[in-house]
């Protein structure tokens, strides 16, 4: 029956008529089941020329020595495959086999290597068989399980639905992730605890939208922020960051402000300064902008010391208006090295008179030897030189809100009262219209008369109890916000359109999504939020499925500021930027690491990604774009001169060692341990995120690296080479480790280095396929040469995120098609997005 499955493809047409693929689908599983006794294997194998002529001989002379029924090395028994059909049936596994053959990972180094042409012949043969199977297979869009809104989506949706920026989902339990993302329908569950939170949030959101935020009592909070270690110096600097922001004396925190209002920011001080210094100049920064500058004079305030200015426990208040939401607060000491006593020889020295220091007064009633001891301690302290740079900000406290804005926001009023006046004189006759419009947007589709009647009945109930129209509206909104039609995206597709005899199309197995379901897929893909009025309008008018309308919408949505959600949520997970929040580089080894650097790292990569989206650049820039976005703090780490101030700007990297996200501090930090770099982790990062080819987890009995030795008695490279002597380890590490070694010149927080402990850095590597490189630039060149592999990896990742499900073998043709288009369109980001949107799995849903 499988005579048609030849590599030559000559008989293709003929076969298709004779053996419709529908039958093929039914028979194929039988073949797999029938395998087992060796006698039968031979018989089955004869069925395919391709198998017999090309594949089997290759396997027998190169693979089945280890991968046989007895040994099953790596859990793989290649003897079990006896025909082309058995291969195409087990497609995922064979894609991996192909991958190992192509990259030269298999056969392993110690074994005799087949000729390059032999490998090419067999991989080409298997590839073309797989491609042929795709042509015959029924197009299958896959099945996406109803997706519950995750926390980000919930926050964004209530913001866009009702103009409420409360971020209520911050209180919800953490969402689970699958396939690397937290928007996977199958994985997102709903517990009674979460339902309770939904109820509470619905009430809070609805009341805020209709009546305005509750008046909050001012409270005090101390957001966490960790500073750098200050390395004391007695000689002032002349060339340094006079804004103080990037010095360890500053503090940086992120705080979520609940409402618009005035807040009291209390700066707490610490450290010491030489006696006779000028008052400190303190600057408060909000989101990188100078908000206030004041002079702080410690004189006259109690402290333990008399021979120096001591700041521990002292505080200074600032009062200022701040909008609701997350803000980056910082406090720094301006011109740290100015105003020191003249004998420090620093810039712009103090004009204050040198203070009289107390003389030693022997305490009464003590024996002379004790007095001598005390005098010695006194003299020693007197001889100490107070550091020039020890004064610091130790914490920021946030108190408030004061003068909170009252009543509903204009944004909320506009979103709710589509009928009736905005000024509070609402007409009861409008209730129905308001409900229809709101539910239409909340459910992201037209609503049925029965649904409207139910919601209106809640308003009627409230009024019957003597409550106002507004109270009734609150109830109706609450009901919408806890409805499964709001909380889930349930897709039922359009009724199937039966096709007549002829080639099998998706229409036989799948339903196209409705225009509204498509609109919601689009908006949650690109914005992590609901469709806006324009997108919903296109769906209402039934125009969204017109190719030019769809393309125009995608273009508009990518340009819209809401597409930052794609950068934050997709980028945050794909590039693992979210892990930065829990990154804790060792303070001892990386004293310069602080929260400001952490924020700057994340911002750099986000801006890089955002710029790529907005400017519609090539996705290959992720690999080696020769520009990035830096502020002074990060430029300091990168040792790039000429960047001053807290604001980010585009910086040309031509000629530098850096380029692409792999050399950005964010990625280099999340792929390191707290105390050291890890070529293994970095190699794994590249395989997993750039190539979507994660290595399998290590076997359970592998010994750990001896951390204490690294940089002392053996270099990391030597240690890892030791590790690779184990052949089980070697098969994966031969591919992982060299990639990571290419980045060894970057330490665990992304700074450039040429030494690791006592050992010079060797950033060279040889890949299993024989290509070798030296240093990060050459590594990037190799990765860029493999652009098809990178494009495929990114396509798969973005497709998972767009669909909210893991990929299956049946998605392979879709991925291939998209990557082909990408190659033809200069790898433009918008091509990737538009091709995903136009693809079968995005447009359709498999029938159950």
């Amino acid at each position: 029956m499988s005579a048609g499955l030849l590599c030559s493809g000559l008989e293709e047409k003929h076969m298709r008529r004779k053996h419709p693929a529908r039958l093929l689908i039914i028979f194929l599983p039988l073949i797999c089941l029938a395998i087992a006794p060796p006698a039968r294997q031979a018989q089955n194998a004869e069925a395919s020329d391709a198998f017999g002529k090309t594949i089997r001989p290759f396997l027998e002379s190169n693979c089945t020595v280890c991968h046989n029924a007895g040994l099953k090395s790596g859990g793989l028994n290649l003897e079990a495959y006896t025909s082309v059909a058995s291969i195409t049936q087990d497609r995922d596994r064979w894609e991996k086999v192909l991958h190992k053959l192509r990259t030269g990972e298999m056969p392993p180094k110690e074994m005799p290597r087949p000729d390059k042409t032999e490998v090419e012949a067999v991989t080409r043969c298997i590839e073309s068989e797989l491609a042929r199977a795709d042509q015959f297979a029924r197009p299958d869009p896959g099945r996406v399980t109803a997706r519950r809104l995750n926390r980000n989506e919930y926050n964004n949706t209530v913001r866009d639905l009702l103009g409420v920026a409360l971020q209520p989902a911050d209180d919800f339990p953490q969402d689970d992730s699958g396939y690397g993302f937290d928007n996977i329908g199958d994985v997102l569950s709903l517990s009674p605890v979460l339902m309770e939170k939904y109820l509470a949030a619905a009430e809070k959101v609805a009341r805020t939208a209709v009546f305005g935020a509750d008046l909050l009592k001012p409270t005090l909070a101390r957001p966490k922020g960790s500073g750098q270690k200050i390395i004391p110096r007695t000689t002032p600097l002349f060339d340094y960051d006079a804004s103080g922001l990037s010095l360890p004396n500053a503090i940086h925190v992120t705080h979520r402000f609940p409402v618009d209002g005035e807040y009291n920011l209390r700066i707490l001080f610490g450290g010491t300064r030489p006696a006779g210094s000028e008052p400190l100049e303190i600057c408060l920064w909000i989101d990188g902008q100078q908000a206030k500058v004041i002079q702080f004079n410690p004189d006259g305030v109690a402290s333990f010391a008399v021979d120096r200015q001591e700041f521990w426990g002292m505080a200074q208040d600032f009062r200022t208006s701040i909008t609701a939401g997350d803000h980056w607060l910082a406090a720094s000491i301006l011109k740290l090295y100015e105003g020191l006593p003249p004998d420090y020889h620093g810039p712009n020295p103090s004009k204050r008179p040198k203070p009289m220091l107390p003389e030693f007064k022997p305490p009464p009633n003590l024996p002379p030897e004790r007095i001598a001891e005390i005098k010695k301690a006194f003299d020693a302290r007197r001889a100490e030189i107070v550091p020039a740079n020890d004064a610091r900000i130790s914490a920021i406290e946030v108190g408030g809100p004061y003068n909170q804005a009252k009543g509903p926001s204009l944004a909320s009023l506009k979103k709710i009262y589509t009928c009736g006046h905005l000024d509070g004189h609402h007409r009861a006759g409008c209730a129905r219209q308001i409900v229809v419009d709101l539910a239409h947007r909340a459910y992201r589709r037209p609503v049925t008369p029965a649904e409207v009647a139910q919601l209106v009945s809640l308003i009627t109930m409230a009024r019957r109890h003597g409550d106002s129209l507004e109270e009734g509206l609150v109830l109706a909104i609450e009901a919408m916000l806890v409805s499964p039609h709001f909380l889930f995206r349930i897709e039922r597709g359009l009724p199937a359109t039966k096709t007549e005899a002829g080639p099998i199309t998706a229409a036989d197995t799948a339903r196209p999504l409705s225009a509204h379901e498509l609109a919601a897929r689009l908006s949650y893909f690109l914005w992590s939020s609901m469709p806006d009025d324009e997108l919903l309008g296109c769906a209402d008018q039934g125009r969204l499925k017109q190719p030019e309308v769809l393309a125009a919408q995608v273009e508009r949505m990518l340009k819209d500021s809401r597409s930052r959600a794609l950068v934050e949520n997709f980028g945050g997970q794909w590039l693992e930027l979210r892990k930065l929040e829990s990154a804790k580089p060792d303070k001892g080894r990386f004293p310069s690491f602080d929260d400001y650097l952490l924020m700057s790292m994340r911002r750099e990569t986000e801006l890089f990604f955002e710029n790529l989206v907005r400017q519609d650049l090539s996705i290959l820039d992720f690999v080696d774009g020769n520009y990035t976005f830096l502020n002074e703090r990060l430029a300091q780490l990168y040792k790039i001169p000429g960047v001053s101030g807290p604001e980010f700007r585009k910086v040309d990297l031509t000629g530098s060692e850096r380029g692409g996200v792999l050399t950005q501090a964010s990625v280099l930090t999340v792929s390191s341990y707290a105390t050291r770099t890890s070529p293994v982790l970095r190699g794994k990062w590249i395989l997993e995120n750039f190539l979507n080819a994660p290595p399998p987890p290590p076997p359970p009995d592998v010994p750990n690296l001896d951390e204490a030795k690294i940089g002392q008695s053996a270099s990391l490279r030597e240690q890892l080479e030791q590790h690779r002597k184990n052949t089980t380890c070697a098969s994966c590490h031969a591919r992982m480790d060299p990639l990571g070694f290419g980045l060894e010149n970057f330490d665990a927080i992304g700074a450039w280095r040429t030494q690791d402990g006592k050992f010079p850095i060797d950033a060279s590597g040889t890949l299993p396929d024989g290509r070798s490189f030296k240093g990060p630039q050459e590594l990037r060149t190799i990765l860029k040469a493999d652009r098809a592999a990178f494009a495929e990896g990114l396509t798969e990742k973005l497709l998972i995120y767009a669909l909210g499900r893991g990929l299956e073998g049946s998605d392979r043709p879709t991925v291939k098609k998209i990557t082909n288009r990408l190659a033809a369109e200069n790898y433009r980001f918008s091509t990737l997005v538009l091709e995903i949107v136009k693809s079968l799995p995005f447009q359709m849903q498999r029938r159950d």
């Binding site: 709903l190 009674p192 005090l220 109690a302 806890v482 909380l487």
Partner: protein, 451 residues
């Protein structure tokens, strides 16, 4: 109690415990006890400790006269309204706060020893060793009679870990309450969280009818979405149905919970508003923490509390009373009269907020008198003169009548060297607990029950 493999000699063990609890009650004793409990069943005895850090300016604290005709000094002035409700106790020492060969670290030792009477082990690491504190002895004896054996509150965030005072662990300066020699009871400093621990997260800010109406509305909404979803579910494929089933299960669970809550009328309702968070100024903050204690006593959720006005060695600034200086360095005033004046202002402010507590307790009527009548409230600092780190002649107040046998309204001056822990033995006796010893105690404190 931690179980270690190392064998401890019995004496060491007892020393570490700081106390020896009397034999457990025998069955034969219970009828008598039951009878006495019935008599006071309506008003249990409450025990509260209020701790202030960094000592007090003693010249403005200690009354010159002893007995009933003592004068309210400058710092005690805010408490004058409670002349008949409190004792001023002078001459009590906390000897184990002294160095005893351990060198610097008086603040850590003061905090650790004040309620335990034990000289804590000098360590900044995990091997902390102190004694069991008086409140925890009371809690283990009467705790089963209320929902919470004890509650521990504080008005200052303890953010530091590791070494807090000259090589002493922060545990010693952050907690005066110790459940075992190795287990400090860190105070809850967020009033909102303290409230939610006591009363749960329900919204009591609405009046009862509104709350009932909203509950009705919520039931209607749940009804509606459940109906709707059941209909929807029938038309879905398998995977989607599983998700929607999860949703339905969650909705039904909540409906069940609402139902059982409606049937349960034993719910304890607080008589205060739920705090939003930490208030902006110190007086508001301290008063709110006192409110929580009053409510916890009033609802009989607990009978034993400790409140730390500040951690020992506190660096709090008091801009509310124009003291911009951190408290601790200010107390090392080097006899600068301006600084002494500012310390005194802080001491007065603390007495004022304490007066608020007593006022609240006194204003809360319950069977047989007021809440204050049935309480024993100790106000104490682990140091007397903060400048010199003295652990002798501590500033101590005792307010309330306990089981009715305390006879306040007097300034009692004890002879030099009387351990502070003797007072605790007397108080525990009033709670019906008779440990033989507590830390360095030498016997019960006299003169409290007779005039």
């Amino acid at each position: 109690m931690m179980i270690t493999k190392k064998h401890l000699p019995r004496r060491t063990f007892l020393k570490g415990m700081g106390t020896m609890i009397a034999l457990p009650m025998l069955d034969a004793m219970t009828p008598a006890l039951a009878a006495s409990r019935q008599a006071q069943a309506t008003a249990p005895v409450r025990l509260a400790f209020v701790y202030v850090p960094n000592g007090i300016v003693m010249k403005d604290w200690t009354p010159k006269a002893a007995g009933r005709e003592f004068e309210f000094t400058r710092i005690l002035k805010p408490l004058e309204a409670f002349r008949e409700d409190l004792f001023v106790l002078s001459g009590l020492d906390d000897h184990n706060g002294n160095a005893l060969g351990d060198g610097a670290g008086d603040h850590a030792r003061a905090g650790a020893a004040i309620l335990t009477g034990v000289h804590c082990k000098k360590t900044a690491g995990a091997d902390i060793q102190n004694g069991i504190s008086v409140d925890q002895i009371a809690a283990s004896a009467v705790g089963s009679k209320s929902r919470f054996p004890s509650i521990e509150l504080g008005c200052e965030d303890s953010r530091t870990v590791g070494n807090c005072d000259s090589g002493y662990s922060c545990a010693y300066t952050n907690s005066v309450s110790w459940r075992s020699p190795t287990t400090p009871m860190p105070p809850e400093v967020n009033p909102r969280q303290a409230f939610e621990r006591l009363f749960g997260t329900a919204d009591y800010s609405l009046d009862a009818p509104t709350r009932a109406r909203r509950a009705e509305y919520r039931k209607s909404i749940l009804d509606m979405v459940r109906d709707d979803t059941e209909k929807l579910n029938r038309s879905l494929g398998q995977a989607d149905r599983r998700k929607i089933d999860e949703y339905l299960y969650a909705v039904r669970e909540i409906e069940k919970r609402i139902e059982s809550a409606e049937k349960d009328d034993r719910e304890v309702k607080p008589t205060m508003e739920k705090p939003a968070g930490i208030p902006m100024t110190f007086p508001e903050y301290a008063k709110l923490m006192f409110d929580l204690q009053v409510v916890a006593f009033q609802t009989d959720l607990t009978r034993v509390t400790t409140l730390m006005i500040g951690r020992e060695g506190s660096m709090r600034v008091y801009p509310e009373i124009e003291v911009p200086d951190p408290h601790h360095p200010l107390t090392h005033h080097r006899n600068n009269p301006e600084w002494i004046e500012r310390v005194t202002k802080i001491n007065c402010l603390h007495a004022e907020v304490f007066a608020y507590f007593l006022e609240k307790l006194k204003a809360t009527k319950e069977a047989g008198g007021t809440l204050l009548d049935h309480s024993m409230v100790v106000y104490v600092s682990g140091l007397s003169d903060g400048n010199r780190h003295s652990h002798e002649d501590l500033p101590v107040l005792l307010a309330g009548r306990g089981d009715g046998r305390l006879k306040p309204g007097r300034h009692i001056v004890y002879k030099k060297g009387t351990p502070m822990t003797n007072l605790y033995l007397t108080l525990l006796d009033r709670m019906g607990v008779q440990p033989e010893r507590l830390g360095d105690s030498t016997g019960k404190l006299e003169h409290l029950t007779e005039l």
